[in-house]
C-alpha cells in the first residue's frame, strides 16, 4: 500500500512537477479552445451543405463524413504529422492537430447538426420563406438556432469527447498535459505526474459528465 501511495500519490513529486504540469494544462486548454471552434466550423459547413437536395452533393458528402468517422483520429493525425513531410508538407504538431481535428471532429459535429436541422419541421422553413427571408437567412435565424437547441446534449457530449481527444496530441510531441506528465514521469521515475494529469482531467471534465448524464437520462426517458 505504501509503495502504491508513494508511486501514484507522491505529494513531493506533485510539487516538483507542478510548474511543468501547469504549462501542459494551459496548452491543453488552449488546444481545446482552438480545435472545438474549428470542428464546429467544419460541422456547420458540412451540415448546411447536406441540406442541398441534389444527390451530387449528398452522396459525396456522406462518403466524406463516413470516411473521417471510420478513420481513428490518431491514424489521421499521424498521417498528417509523419506522412505529409515526405512530400514536403510539414505543418508541425499544432498544424497537424488543427487539420486532423478539423476533419475528424468536423465530421462528427456535421452529423449531429444535420440531425438537428432535420428535426426542425418543414413548416418553419416555409413560414420563413413566405415572409421573404432568403435561404441563408432562414438557415441562420430560424433553422440553426432550433437545430442547435434540439441536439444540445449531443453537441455537449461531442465537445467533451473532443477535449478528451486532445490528449492524442502528445503522440506528435505537442506539449499538452499528457505529454508534459510523461516527461515529468520519465525524469522522476514515478507515476505521480500521470496520476496528477488524470486528476486534472477529471476535475476539469467531471461537471460536464454530470450535466450530460442528466440531459441524456431525460432524453432517453422521454423517448420510452
Amino acid at each position: 500500500m505504501d509503495l502504491f501511495l508513494d508511486t501514484f500519490f507522491n505529494w513531493q513529486i506533485v510539487q516538483e512537477a507542478w510548474p511543468i504540469l501547469w504549462q501542459g494544462l494551459k496548452a491543453t486548454l488552449l488546444l481545446s479552445a482552438l480545435v472545438v471552434p474549428l470542428g464546429l466550423l467544419g460541422g456547420i459547413i458540412l451540415a448546411v451543405l447536406t441540406t442541398f437536395p441534389s444527390p451530387w452533393v449528398k452522396w459525396p458528402l456522406r462518403v466524406w463524413v463516413d470516411t473521417f468517422r471510420a478513420l481513428p483520429p490518431l491514424v489521421l493525425l499521424v498521417f498528417i504529422f509523419a506522412g505529409l513531410p515526405f512530400v514536403g508538407v510539414d505543418v508541425g504538431p499544432w498544424g497537424a492537430v488543427a487539420i486532423g481535428f478539423f476533419l475528424n471532429t468536423g465530421a462528427y459535429y456535421g452529423e449531429i447538426l444535420r440531425a438537428g436541422i432535420e428535426s426542425v419541421p418543414r413548416g418553419q422553413l416555409e413560414a420563413a420563406r413566405s415572409t421573404g427571408l432568403t435561404r441563408g437567412q432562414t438557415m441562420t435565424y430560424v433553422v440553426l438556432p432550433q437545430a442547435v437547441r434540439n441536439v444540445l446534449p449531443d453537441l455537449i457530449s461531442n465537445t467533451l469527447e473532443v477535449v478528451k481527444l486532445t490528449s492524442i496530441a502528445s503522440v506528435v510531441a505537442l506539449p499538452e498535459l499528457l505529454f508534459e506528465a510523461r516527461q515529468a514521469q520519465s525524469v522522476t521515475y514515478n507515476a505521480t505526474p500521470i496520476m496528477a494529469a488524470a486528476v486534472a482531467y477529471f476535475i476539469l471534465l467531471w461537471p460536464v459528465v454530470r450535466l450530460l448524464s442528466r440531459l441524456e437520462n431525460r432524453q432517453l426517458a422521454g423517448r420510452g
Partner: protein, 226 residues
C-alpha cells in the same frame, strides 16, 4: 521527379507496400481481436453494473456512478499510459495489449452502463406494476419484461458509442502494440517511406467504414419505431 510522381512514390510505393503488407495484415488481425475483446468485456460489465444498479443499494449505486463518471471523464489514452507506464513504477508490469484492452474495456463499460441504465429507467413504471401484479418476481420482471424493451431503445446509441470506443484501439500503438497503426508506424521508420501509413489507413477504412454505415442504418431503422 514531378510532384505527382513524388506523391505516388511516397504514399503509393508498390515495393514498400508489398514488403509491409503482411505486417499490416497481422496488425489487422490483432486490431480485430483487441476490438472484440473490448466489446465483449465492456458491454458485459456495463450491463452488469446497470443491473446491479436496479437493486437500489445506495452506497453501491454511488460507487457505480462515480466509477462511470470517472471513466467517462478520463481520456482513454491517459488511462492506457497510466496502466502501461505508471504501474511498472509500482512493480506491476502489464503488456501493451492488456493495458489497452483493460483501459478501453473500462471506458466502454462506463459508457454502456449509462446507456443501459437510461434504457431501463425509460421503461414505464406501469410495466413493472403490471408484471409484478401477475406474480412475476423482481428478477423475472427485469429479465422478461423490462430488459427486452430497454435494450431495443439502447441499440442506436450503444452501436455508435461502441464504434467510437473501438476505434480507440489505434491508441494501443502508443504502448508498443503491433496493431494496424503500430505495424504501419514501424514500417515507416524502417523503410523511410510513408506508404505503410497509407496501407494502415486503408486497413482501418476496410474495417470501420462498413461498421459506420451499419451504425447509420441502425440509427434510422430504430429511430421512430418503438
Amino acid at each position: 521527379m514531378t510532384g505527382w510522381e513524388r506523391f505516388t512514390d511516397s504514399f503509393f510505393n508498390a515495393r514498400v507496400m508489398a514488403q509491409y503488407l503482411p505486417k499490416i495484415i497481422d496488425g489487422f488481425g490483432l486490431t480485430v481481436v483487441l476490438a472484440l475483446c473490448i466489446i465483449a468485456a465492456g458491454l458485459a460489465l456495463g450491463l452488469l453494473l446497470a443491473l446491479v444498479r436496479t437493486f437500489s443499494i445506495r452506497p453501491l449505486n454511488w460507487l457505480i456512478i462515480f466509477v462511470v463518471d470517472l471513466f467517462r471523464a478520463l481520456p482513454p489514452l491517459v488511462i492506457i499510459v497510466l496502466l502501461y507506464f505508471g504501474l511498472p513504477n509500482a512493480g506491476v508490469e502489464l503488456s501493451g495489449f492488456v493495458a489497452s484492452w483493460l483501459a478501453l474495456t473500462l471506458v466502454l463499460m462506463a459508457f454502456s452502463e449509462e446507456i443501459f441504465w437510461a434504457g431501463i429507467t425509460s421503461v414505464a413504471k406501469g410495466q413493472w406494476e403490471a408484471a409484478r401484479s401477475t406474480g412475476l418476481g423482481f428478477v423475472q420482471t427485469l429479465g422478461f419484461v423490462v430488459l427486452p424493451q430497454a435494450l431495443r431503445i439502447t441499440i442506436p446509441p450503444l452501436t455508435n458509442r461502441t464504434i467510437a470506443i473501438t476505434k480507440g484501439t489505434a491508441l494501443a500503438s502508443v504502448v508498443a502494440v503491433p496493431d494496424i497503426l503500430g505495424a504501419a508506424n514501424a514500417g515507416v521508420s524502417f523503410s523511410f517511406n510513408p506508404s505503410p501509413l497509407t496501407l494502415g489507413a486503408i486497413a482501418y477504412l476496410v474495417l470501420f467504414f462498413p461498421v459506420v454505415v451499419l451504425g447509420r442504418w441502425i440509427e434510422t431503422r430504430f429511430a421512430w419505431k418503438r
